[in-house]
């Protein structure tokens, strides 16, 4: 038994490295494969998928780890985006460097997280959801109206001509030739976003398996017991809020620089709900599931765009407006997933087992404890 162990470990480790290598090559080649197969538009969609993975992982800290329902998450995204847009655009003629503004924007968003969290986190469940929803709307309305008396946000028109990301003097939006390979703007952004996404994933995993992560889980499971075991629940919840907001602010800065344009319309309640759906649909609290949810829900609406041309081809006219169909199919998909996979598409193994206890020993134990409880 003991003799076998190192051997197996060694082999497992080699398999893990091999899988890691294949994945790395695949991720590096992905934009080229996608461009060859589906066209340049899809590389942009890929970029957005990465962006949403970051946002969803941030919201997952709040909703999945700590169990706090936040319906105003997009506010932090907006704060990060506008912070960058205002300080790196013709709006005030300021053009501060991206790499300075990005962490600062995340920091400001974090501050907003604390500002919102401090007075509201004593509320539970539905009440917290309503207050955060209100907060998200307030931020959006502010952005809409902060064009007078001093024009800060340029109101509903939004801010245009935002500075792109610069890497050593090179604007990432411009194509560049590296090692004889032509790298377009969307490609370059893909690599930037991929790098940052990997950092965010790394941070999320580390957080989950830490003293803080356990405290979050404890609060999610039983707040009273967590408090009685010495967890300063208000502060630890605030920490979850602040961390989620930080990731949101980071995503916002990237969005503004990538898009070159921000307006309040990008930060509606629908956007918050979309990110929440990514978390819930993928598998709340389970990082791989959340990543899957974000990628799927970014791609799905884009894929449905083809429904229009497809109708044209098949029946000669567009019978159903693809825009209507998108929301309909989206709703149907949500309902189906919640019916058949209530824990999400890719729940954590532990939770999956909860739903399908195939281990008879466990079933028996559970019945036993039920029996004991009834006595």
């Amino acid at each position: 038994m003991i003799g076998l162990l190192p051997d197996r470990l060694y082999r497992d480790r080699r398999i893990a490295w091999a899988a890691f290598g294949v994945l790395a090559v695949l991720l590096i080649a992905l934009p080229f494969l996608v461009e060859a197969g589906l066209g340049r538009t899809w590389v942009r969609i890929l970029d957005f998928a990465m962006l949403y993975v970051m946002l969803a992982l941030g919201l997952n800290i709040v909703v999945g780890f700590a169990g706090l329902l936040d319906l105003g998450y997009v506010a932090f995204y907006a704060v990060g985006a506008y912070f960058y847009a205002i300080l790196a655009s013709p709006q005030f003629g300021l053009h501060l460097p991206f790499w300075v503004l990005l962490p600062m924007g995340a920091g400001i968003a974090c501050l907003f997280g604390v500002l919102l969290g401090a007075p509201t986190l004593r509320l539970r469940g539905d009440y917290l959801a309503i207050v955060t929803l209100g907060f998200g709307e307030i931020i959006r309305i502010f952005l809409n109206n902060l064009n007078a008396p001093v024009n800060v946000t340029n109101g509903p028109q939004g801010i245009n001509m935002i500075d792109p990301v610069r890497l050593g003097g090179h604007a990432l939006t411009r194509p560049i030739e590296l090692f004889g390979v032509q790298i377009s703007g969307p490609h370059a952004h893909y690599y930037l976003f991929l790098g940052l996404t990997l950092l965010v994933i790394f941070a999320a995993i580390r957080l989950q398996h830490s003293r803080i992560g356990r405290a979050w889980a404890a609060i999610r499971e039983d707040e009273v017991a967590a408090e009685a075991m010495g967890i300063h629940t208000r502060n630890v919840k605030l920490l979850a809020f602040a961390m989620g907001a930080t990731f949101g602010g980071l995503g916002g800065g990237l969005f503004a620089a990538f898009q070159g344009f921000v307006s309040p319309e990008s930060f509606t309640l629908m956007e918050s709900i979309m990110i929440l759906c990514m978390v819930v649909l993928g598998g709340m609290g389970h990082i791989p599931g959340v990543i899957l949810g974000a990628v799927l829900l970014t791609m799905l609406p884009e894929a449905l765009r083809y429904v229009g041309p497809l109708q044209q081809e098949l029946i000669g006219r567009v019978a159903v407006d693809p825009a209507d169909l998108r929301m309909l199919l989206f709703g149907v998909a949500l309902v189906l997933v919640m019916l058949f996979r209530p824990q999400g598409l890719w729940p954590s193994p532990v939770r999956a087992r909860e739903l399908h206890p195939d281990n008879p020993d466990q079933v028996r134990q559970e019945q036993e404890s039920l029996y004991d409880a009834e006595r």
């Binding site: 499971e221 009273v224 532990v350 409880a373």
Partner: protein, 265 residues
């Protein structure tokens, strides 16, 4: 555990409740209950259902705030403290209606108990430097050690909700011990246990005391209370009607009346 027995030889009680009153609207759940617990003692708290035992525990641990009266732990007033602050001062508890972190593993439940005695924050968690790694290792080792002590060593990786009832109660004890309490308050730890389990529990509580943790427990199992406790206090309708050595309390006419109703006394 901290061997507080030596340090506190002066005779100041570990826990001192003076004239604690707790009202819920018109209902007076506790009226002027005083209780002291000395370092190293095992004190029992008994009384019919609804007498106010759990309410008293809640007043000690910051879950409720007394309407009147004071509670001191090692001479420090607990007035206005939140439960986490009380736990940090060294008073841990278990719950009558088990409150485990159901979807966390047995080990993780105990590891959560270490939270209050450890430091790693967000930055430490993400960077995981040598200090954080050492802390995390010690959390795990101490928690595994505690699981062994309560006899759950083999179940570390199961979900807490999958444990049989008796094991869940012992897990709650391990989780509370992980906070390094000076005083451990147990709310009906033997409820739902069979004879063998109760006997094992008695042994466990004795070893906990030997390691320097003072015990205050609510229990209905009379045999267990008589065997285990140095002193027993009796609550009835929110009043303390007796307090003394078990044999004496057992013969107290007021106690007999409370338990058997008038006429039997």
């Amino acid at each position: 555990m901290t061997p507080s027995a030596e340090r506190d030889g002066g005779g100041e009680p570990l826990l001192a409740a003076r004239a604690v009153t707790k009202r819920f609207g018109g209902l007076t759940a506790l009226s002027e209950v005083s209780l002291t617990v000395q370092v190293g003692e095992i004190v029992g708290l008994i009384g019919p259902n609804g007498a106010g035992k759990t309410t008293l525990f809640n007043c000690f641990t910051g879950l409720y705030h007394p309407s009147a009266g004071t509670v001191h732990l090692e001479g420090r007033p607990l007035a206005g403290l939140k439960p986490h602050a009380v736990a940090a001062l060294g008073l841990a508890r278990t719950f009558q209606n088990i409150r485990l972190f159901a979807n966390m593993s047995v080990l993780e439940n105990v590891m959560v108990g270490r939270h209050v005695r450890t430091r790693a924050g967000v930055l430490g968690a993400v960077l995981r430097g040598p200090r954080t790694r050492a802390e995390e290792r010690s959390i795990r080792e101490r928690s595994l050690d505690l699981l062994d002590r309560v006899g759950l060593g083999g179940r570390a990786d199961q979900l807490a909700r999958h444990l049989p009832y008796g094991d869940q109660r012992r897990l709650e004890i391990a989780r509370a011990l992980a906070t390094e309490p000076k005083l451990l308050a147990l709310d009906e730890p033997a409820a739902g246990m069979n004879h063998t389990e109760t006997a094992a529990l008695k042994g466990l509580l004795e070893t906990i005391r030997e390691r320097g943790v003072t015990l205050l427990l609510i229990e209905h199992d009379v045999r267990l209370m008589m065997d285990l406790c140095d002193r027993v206090a009796v609550l009835d309708y929110g009043r303390k009607i007796a307090d003394g050595p078990p044999e004496q309390v057992q013969r107290d006419p007021a106690v007999i009346e409370a338990y058997l109703g008038a006429g039997a006394a």
